[in-house]
């Protein structure tokens, strides 16, 4: 690596070769695992329907995508994720900031939040299904409810972690409450809030799939996988899992790293 970096100006060919080597190195484990999968599938250790070879999964993936079934499932899942997460974000940040700013709010809310937090979110699922019925309302509310906890805790910690001296110097320079909040507390707490949002989104994503299975929503990747089981469509199931993996990866790489670069790094909050 180091050698390649030093020769960048001297030789572009070496850089290109290095890049190819990186691609090959990244692909290599997947090729190995894929080959093992193929061997097991073709050796007939398991019934073909339960352990389809990769080309069948790929064919089913292409087929489901072309007919528009897979995209529709994916879009519904993403919409549900975003709605639930937006709910959690608004409510969670509000409660967290309130708890960080006001002693009274902290005293009242902290015990309530601490009681709800240690119960795994999915355990609430049947309760929500009973209270709000099967379908979208329950799943969105549940996703929102569960992902709100890390957001609350992190916003609360973030507001409390804003340096007292910043607040006091802003006040000394005559900042009113609104300016203090907008220009000192919010930027100061932002790294924590973003961490909370990131954890919340990850949490929401992790349970959404299971919620879709339990809540019998008409469309959604979780339901696709769960429904495919009844017809032994293992290829459709694996295609759904691939889409889930891609969305999960995209959430992490495209959404959060971008937001973090844009806000926190720009305001110079990470290094301080």
């Amino acid at each position: 690596m180091q050698d390649a970096v030093t020769t960048i100006t001297a030789d572009r060919g070496a850089v290109l070769a290095e890049r190819w080597r990186l691609v090959a190195r990244t692909l290599f484990p997947f090729i190995v695992v894929g080959a093992i999968w193929e061997v097991i599938a073709w050796a007939g250790v398991f019934p073909r329907r339960l352990f389809p070879p990769l080309e069948e999964v790929a064919a089913s993936f292409v087929h489901l995508t072309m007919t528009g079934i897979l995209p529709r499932h994916a879009i519904e899942t993403i919409l549900r994720l975003l709605t639930g997460f937006a709910l959690a974000g608004v409510v969670g940040v509000t409660i967290g900031v309130l708890m960080g700013r006001s002693r009274r709010a902290e005293d009242i809310l902290l015990p309530l939040v601490s009681i709800g937090a240690p119960i795994p979110g999915l355990a609430y699922a049947p309760l929500f299904l009973l209270w709000f019925g099967l379908g979208n309302v329950s799943s969105v509310l549940l996703v929102g409810f569960v992902s709100a906890f890390p957001i609350i805790f992190n916003s609360w910690t973030g507001v409390k972690a804003v340096k007292e001296i910043w607040v006091r110097s802003a006040q000394a320079m005559g900042a009113d409450d609104r300016r203090l909040f907008r220009h000192v507390i919010l930027p100061g707490a932002l790294p924590y809030i973003l961490t909370g949002l990131r954890l919340g989104l990850a949490q929401a994503w992790r349970i959404l799939v299971a919620v879709e299975m339990l809540a019998a929503v008409p469309w959604g990747l979780g339901w696709l996988i769960f429904g495919a089981r009844k017809f032994l469509n293992t290829d459709a199931m694996l295609a759904g899992i691939v889409v889930i993996a891609v969305i999960g990866l995209a959430l992490e790489k495209l959404v959060f790293q971008k937001i973090e670069n844009y806000t926190v790094v720009r305001w110079g909050m990470i290094s301080s």
């Binding site: 484990p29 398991f46 005293d107 015990p111 309530l112 999915l122 299971a210 769960f226």
Partner: protein, 263 residues
């Protein structure tokens, strides 16, 4: 004096908040606007909890759930810990496993439940494997970053003082990485606890706290659901507070690693 006054006032306010929430719930349950089957009163929930504890059914459910969690979690440690260490110590291992781990990590464990149900049937095996899948990645990832973040100065100092590979590993690398490893265990347990409840709901067998909750829904036994919810919360809380807390005291704090990890 103001400090203790302040903390006493916090305590009073907190207690009042919890009592107030309970009173609001109780009033809603008794108001008759909601079906009593959906919103049981607090004494009903308490009675159900006591009855289930007394006849041993709750303990049996909890035992099944704990067995699955511990099995899967133990497996995750046995696989994740060495793999994380190997990845951090050997470039080749890292080159091979890191792309795979990064691709598998964003798949929520529940997405695999239907697949595992097809492959392994419903019951213990599927649940344990789901727990294993959920817990391995945080374990591996944290161990990996822990071993990598061991201060190179310590390694060189130990090497200069004549420590061999074996000694270096046990006396420097493992204690140095321990804060991360314990964090990994905590995260892994949290994930397994979530995973076991979900897996028990979806891949229902006959026992387990997740199964009880889901099964109670069919019969509108909301009191059983809430009672099991309380037990699930308590067990999770106890693990986090007592077991991992004391584990941390025994290793990280005793080796004096906490400050270095934070600094």
């Amino acid at each position: 004096m103001t400090e203790t006054g302040q903390s006493r006032r916090s305590l009073v306010r907190g207690t009042l908040a919890v009592l107030g929430a309970a009173a609001v719930y109780e009033a809603m349950a008794r108001s008759g606007y909601f079906a009593p089957a959906l919103l049981p009163t607090l004494p009903t929930i308490g009675r159900t909890l006591v009855a289930m504890l007394a006849d041993g059914s709750m303990l049996e459910h909890a035992a099944f759930t704990l067995y699955r969690v511990m099995f899967g979690f133990g497996l995750a440690i046995v696989v994740g810990l060495p793999l994380g260490i190997l990845m951090a110590r050997f470039q080749r291992v890292e080159n091979f496993f890191l792309p795979l781990v990064s691709a598998l990590m964003p798949i929520p464990s529940f997405a695999l439940v239907p697949l595992f149900m097809l492959w392994f049937g419903i019951g213990n095996l599927t649940t344990i494997l789901i727990v294993f899948y959920a817990a391995t990645f945080p374990m591996m990832f944290n161990t990996w970053s822990g071993v990598r973040s061991v201060n190179p100065l310590w390694l060189r100092a130990a090497g200069a003082m004549g420590a061999d590979e074996h000694k270096l590993f046990w006396k420097v690398i493992i204690p140095g990485a321990s804060p991360f490893i314990i964090t990994g265990m905590r995260q892994a347990f949290l994930r397994s606890w979530i995973a076991v409840v979900g897996a028990e709901m979806i891949a229902a067998s006959d026992w387990g706290l997740g199964w009880v909750i889901f099964d109670a829904k069919e019969f509108l036994n909301t009191d059983i659901m809430l009672a099991s919810l309380i037990v699930i919360g308590l067990i999770g809380f106890a693990f986090e507070r007592f077991i991992f807390g004391s584990l941390e005291r025994m290793t990280v704090l005793r080796w004096g690693m906490m400050r270095t990890a934070k600094g």
